[in-house]
Amino acid sequence: MSFLLPCPNCGPRPVDEFSCAGEVTVRPQGAPSLRELTSYLYFKRNVAGVQREWWCHRLGCEAWFTAERDTRTNEVLSIDVPEPAGPAAPDAPPLPDTPAV
């Protein structure tokens, strides 16, 4: 694997700069049955084709995003950045409470 993956912040970068958290799954709600739980945890669809998956630009800007990738060709068709929540998030970056030097 040496394909390029477009980071929403950094642009196309070698895939080994990223970590992949696998295909996007739907976490069951409420009290899942054993079957629902195990299929969520262990049974991935693992398609030969286009798959939506989670990626993190681990050795770069550390952003998480989803990408649609064709698992047969490693062609990345699109990426999507999850919406940050709440108005406070973007303009109030968290800083440690310990005073700066």
Binding site: L4, P14, W64, A85, G86, P94, L95, D97
Partner: protein, 865 residues
């Protein structure tokens, strides 16, 4: 012995270059390669073959075959015909027993025996089983090409460079140069890579690089071998102009020294002014071969006969040798004496790089060669590599290995003969991919450059079919031999030091790795350091802890969802121990969580888990979209832990805080100035004694550290390292994630059921933990103390009813308790205080007793008062 100056010679006769061959002093000229210089010195045998130890000489003279591989300055398998000569080079031939010219193992060539047929090691050497080690030792000593220097480990340094190109042209052939010129100035950064001997072309707007492209990978990645540097090119467009490769003919004796491909004649005569032989026969299926005739004559070589296989039908060719060197050739029974036989089976486009990129490779029956089609986007083939101007290769009629006139080599790298291939077919290896693996044809150093086409021809003929239906094997990188060191590169392991690192060194610390961090193992006396924490006052650098700030309206909700613990009910200024788990209920990390304000938490992680926890937090934050921000302040903040009965006295000297037990209780978090530095002070007790963990800006590391040691000197303040910390935490039965737990552990079985608040609506791992409760425990993490003071090995076996029933995860001798203590996993029925267990220690079995409560201060009085 050189010819008179030739019109295009590349040697500088004024510049003699001395070097050694097997210790004897020899000379060549500037412009020589190692092989040409040796040729000039009269050397004809360059190596001994892989299996039969047959003499081998210059065959292709263009870096495509294994024949000229020698050991140069300690580096094995250097293709000397394409390696420029340098002064003082220490050159040695390889793969011979006895001497290069009289190899003892040529016996295997003459008598054959069990070591020679293809696949012999799969069949012959498996019985009797007991004898395999003997066989193996013998095989290892005689097999393989070249020897790696045992202690050569750090003698050569390799590096990796990441580079970019908009257009990368591989090969400075005419077509390659043309492509580069065309792209220059129009397509951004144009790079031309070439591994030839001629000076790189100087083109405007083109960066020319000396090196060998060893493969084409997805994403336009082309690694280029430039000696001791691997350039990892990312190219927008790759142009393959790798040319075509001259193909040998198949006939008995086709590997004899003096049997050469046309390019060898071109280079020997034209470039280096060497006379390749006294009397030559030329047998060629293309014009290139015939063109050597005039060159040979120019060099004073008598040409006894030149046969054009396209017009003259020769049914049988057989070369005979004397002492491994060609002496005569028979063409349909007509014997011609010669010491040089130029053979040419036409040329095959060098398509390997295109195949790596994903092009399909198909046989063109009209032209007798393999051609590429469906070349993927972003890759182009030009010139001979694309098949332009490449003459059809030899018709299969020249193949006549059956005539019993000596060995006919299909693959000279691996010493595979036509007989071997036929045997493989007879044994049922009728698919080319299987046959490749069984016979190892195309798997040697030439990577199929000289044997791929002939072997497929032979296959087609023996299977009575055509080449197109036999197809081809998958071409994989590297397409040229590459030094392993180059692929391994120089390991760039990040090493992290805390801001107090240099003080540790000055204090005589023995350093150790924990993840990427360098940390003090101890300052020379682990148990003394541990004792000092119990008796007086110790200080340890814990700057390596991961530190995250989690802030925002949803901070509490976020942590409650992530951890099995509860955090929403925490009062501001309080601390809780938390264990992070996955949705499968597995323990991932642990640490403390302090609530600094309503919407503001300070989370610490293990030293090695910081990166993973940060990534985990950010991921769930992206998934849930809660209104919370996460900041990693691991490097920004240093931290030290002061612990021991005198810790409070020390803190009262360093801060103006009220440090009385009522004002600053166990698990309180407070902002304060420590030694004048604004800090966050956490009253926690990983090591079991009254303790304060002080977090403050990294640049003040040494100042705070020194202040503690100075102001606490009369209190007995001394530093302690990681090893004493491990003893102390074990006395308290505090787990180390990753040491006492593994990827299967959950908080219930790890004996921390109070962590999981199962009445919460949801948290990561809740459902899986419910399953654990339902199914019951399979094992449990407990403490144990040894009956007779022996410290069992970590990872050692806990024996139940004479069978493995558990394992030791931690064990130490505690000077303070006067006991050997440990933790380990046991079957749940043994997880009872006082239960007797047995542990394997050095082959004998030792008794131990299970302990469920901390060995030291089980009620935590030391921590709380």
């Amino acid at each position: 012995m050189r010819l008179p100056p030739q019109p295009d010679e590349r040697i500088d006769r004024e510049a003699a270059i001395p070097f050694t061959f097997h210790g004897s002093r020899v000379t060549g000229f500037a412009g020589d390669t190692i092989a040409s210089a040796l040729f000039g010195e009269g050397q004809r045998v360059y190596s001994r073959s892989f299996k039969y130890h047959r003499a081998r000489g210059l065959l292709c003279c263009s870096g495509n075959c294994p024949n000229c591989m020698m050991r140069v300055d300690g580096v094995p398998n250097v293709r000397t015909c394409v390696t420029p000569l340098h002064e003082g080079a220490k050159v040695e031939a390889q793969n011979f027993w006895g001497s290069l010219d009289h190899d003892l193992l040529t016996l295997t060539d003459k008598v054959g025996g069990p070591f020679t047929p293809v696949g012999f090691y799969y069949r012959t050497m498996i019985r009797p089983r007991r004898a395999w080690p003997l066989y193996e030792r013998f095989l290892r000593s005689v097999a393989g090409l070249g020897k790696v220097e045992k202690h050569g480990g750090r003698t050569r340094r390799y590096d990796v460079e990441h580079r970019r190109a908009d257009v990368l042209v591989v090969g400075a052939s005419e077509a390659g140069v043309e492509s580069a010129r065309e792209a220059a100035g129009r397509e951004g950064r144009v790079v031309l890579v070439d591994n030839g001997l001629d000076p790189l072309p100087d083109l405007e707007g083109v960066e020319a690089v000396r090196g060998t492209a060893i493969g084409v990978y997805e994403g336009g990645l082309v690694p280029v071998d430039a000696g001791t540097v691997l350039h990892r090119y990312r190219a927008g467009r790759v142009v393959v102009a790798a040319g075509a490769i001259e193909q040998p003919l198949l006939f008995p004796g086709n590997d004899l020294v003096g049997v050469v491909l046309p390019e060898a004649v071109r280079r020997l005569v034209g470039r280096w002014s060497l006379r390749p032989g006294a009397r030559a026969v030329v047998v060629s299926a293309d014009q290139r071969g015939l063109e050597t005739v005039s060159l040979l004559e120019q060099a004073g070589t008598e040409v006894a006969e030149a046969v054009d296989l396209r017009t003259t039908r020769v049914r049988e060719i057989a070369a005979r040798g004397r002492g491994g060197r060609v002496a005569s050739v028979e063409l349909d029974g007509k014997k011609l004496d010669c010491d040089l036989l130029v053979m040419s089976g036409g040329r095959q486009p060098a398509y390997a790089l295109l195949a790596h990129a994903g092009a399909s490779v198909e046989y063109d029956p009209g032209r007798g060669i393999f051609l590429t089609s469906a070349i993927p986007q972003g890759v182009d083939a030009v010139g001979a590599a694309a098949g332009d101007g490449v003459a059809a290769a030899a018709p299969s009629a020249t193949y006549n290995g059956a005539s019993g006139k000596g060995k006919c080599f299909v693959c000279i790298c691996e010493d595979v003969t036509d007989k071997d291939v036929k045997r493989a077919i007879a044994e049922g290896f009728d698919s080319i991919e299987l046959a490749k693996r069984y016979t190892t044809v195309t798997m040697g150093p030439c990577q199929g450059k000289l044997c791929h086409l002939p072997s497929i021809r032979l296959y087609a003929r023996e299977n009575e079919t055509d080449e197109a239906s036999i197809g081809t094997t998958t071409a994989r990188p590297p397409w040229q031999p590459v030094e392993l060191g180059l692929l391994a590169g120089r390991p760039h392991e990040p090493a992290q030091r805390t801001s107090i690192h240099h003080r540790h060194k000055e204090l005589g610390a023995k350093m150790m790795w924990t993840g990427t961090w360098r940390r003090p193992h101890s300052y020379g006396d682990p148990s003394g350091e541990a004792k000092n924490v119990h008796d007086a006052l110790g200080v340890i650098d814990v700057s390596t802890l991961g530190k995250l700030v989690v802030r925002g309206p949803d901070a509490a909700a976020f942590l409650e969802r992530l951890y099995p613990n509860r955090f929403g009910d925490m009062k501001t200024g309080r601390i809780r121990y938390g264990v992070l788990g996955s949705d499968a209920g597995r323990i991932m990390d642990d640490g403390t969580i302090a609530r600094l304000a309503e919407e503001d938490y300070y989370v610490t992680t293990t030293s090695t888990g910081a990166g993973a926890v940060l990534e985990w937090f950010e991921w769930w934050n992206a998934v849930w979209g809660l209104d919370v921000g996460i900041a990693n302040v691991t490097g920004a903040l240093a931290a030290v832990n002061v612990a021991g009965p005198h810790a409070r006295e020390l803190m009262s000297r360093l801060t103006d805080l009220d440090v009385s037990n009522d004002a600053f209780t166990y698990l309180d978090a407070k902002h304060a100035h420590v030694a004048g530095v604004p800090s966050l002070v956490l009253r926690i007790g990983f090591v079991g004694e009254l303790g304060y963990e002080i977090h403050f800006p990294s640049p003040y590391g040494e100042h705070v550290w020194n202040s503690i040691l100075e102001r606490g000197a009369d209190l007995g303040a001394l530093p302690f390292g990681l090893e004493p910390q491990r003893i102390l935490r074990l006395e308290k039965m505090h787990i180390l994630v990753g040491q006492d737990t593994d990827s299967e552990s959950n908080v219930f079985e790890a004996s921390m059921p109070w962590i999981a608040k199962m009445d919460k609506d949801d948290f990561v791992g809740k459902w899986s933990l419910e399953r654990v409760q339902e199914r019951g425990f399979r094992e449990q993490l407990v403490g144990f103390e040894m009956a007779n003071g022996v410290v069992p090995p970590e990872g050692g076996q806990i024996v139940v009813d004479g069978r493995p029933g558990g394992r030791v995860t931690s064990s130490r001798w505690s000077q303070h308790l006067g006991k050997a203590i440990g933790m380990g996993w046991v079957p749940p029925e043994l997880a009872e205080d006082g239960a007797e267990i047995a542990i394997k220690v050095d082959g004998s079995v030792e008794r131990a007793h299970v302990r469920l409560r901390p060995f030291f201060d089980p009620d935590g009085e030391h921590l709380r008062t």
